[in-house]
Amino acid sequence: MSLGKEFSKGILRENPLFRLTLGMCPSLAITTSVNNALGMGVAFTGVLLASNIVISALRKIIPESIRIPCYIVIIASFVTLTEMLMQAYLPELFASLGIFIPLIVVNCIILGRAEAFASKNTVVPSFMDGLGMGVGYTLALVIVSTFREVLGTGTFMGHVVFADSTYSALIMILPPGGFITLGCILGFLNLLQNRKVMKNRQATQLKLKQQVAHEVSSN
């Protein structure tokens, strides 16, 4: 597979949140504002990239039987680094993301990529895979948070969209809003996919009919 494909599969075809439904907890909890979602996405991408690079570089050294603990220690070290960097340079963002920064350790996407991809591939493809998955996850978080922030508080990244606050639906930034938004987005994506499948089926049926008609008329 080419490097471009390794990158692009994480964004659409195997988007970790929308297609594989992994990493749900942060996607529901911190998507109350677009800024939080972006911050979380960048922190997550950094950890995923670093752990993918290190794990693919060490894949021949790490013994098969204790690989999972090894991966967890590597991931936890990078999460600790990220935590310290954010605490030092972005204290406000760190405070609003709170517990979900240390919880990147147990995000199933990172361990999943380590097990499914980085442990079997060389450094460069693993880097592209991590970058694609990270960007895909960040995009998904931003999409979810856009709906929640605009509908819930009437702002987008802190800028006012609806001046009249009576139109803001508070429930969208309360916990139920997270479930509703993600459920509706997943349903919408399913609808698109079903349409596509139906269209393909209809197209092939049409082709068959034409073929049959052509054969009948030529006979």
């Binding site: 999972i68 600790t80 199933c108 459920g183 997943l186 349903g187 609808l191 079903n194």
Partner: protein, 191 residues
Amino acid sequence: MREMVIIIIGAVLINNIILSQFLGVCPFLGVSKKLSSAVGMGVAVTFVLTLASLITWLVQTFILELLEIEYLQTIAFILVIASLVQFVEMVMRKKTPDLYEALGVYLPLITTNCAVLGVAIINIQKSYGFGETLANSLGNALGFTLALVLFAGIRERLDFADVPQSLKGMPIALITAALMSIAFLGFTGLL
């Protein structure tokens, strides 16, 4: 004692770990297709979460804080949880094979359950003492079990419901969870 009861009620109903704090959503959606497996998962999580919170509290107080290496918290806690799960699995297989048969499949899943690490960190952040840590983690574990079992009951019935084609599976499960979450919002003024 009174304080402990308040902490437990708060953790189970008001700040439910899944429906208002969004910790442990993956097993909540993954293991809720059958009522029996939901009960199994709930019991396994209750056991591991309570034990892990107490041990991580001891590690934090008597090792990390004494040596002033609190920055190693994340690494230390995840290692404690991972080895604890492994240890519980080994002991269970040896001593209570029946229980192992029933809960064994859920145990490895618990290591990457963010509820366990999450509650352990929250206990430290709120600077709870040992007793409060016990109450808070027990309450959170019971809240997890309650939400999981209720949700599994609804999902079993949902299989027979007439759901639009594109909402089948995960989307309708999420919307159901949203309705449950709204119901739990009603407990806000309880205490």
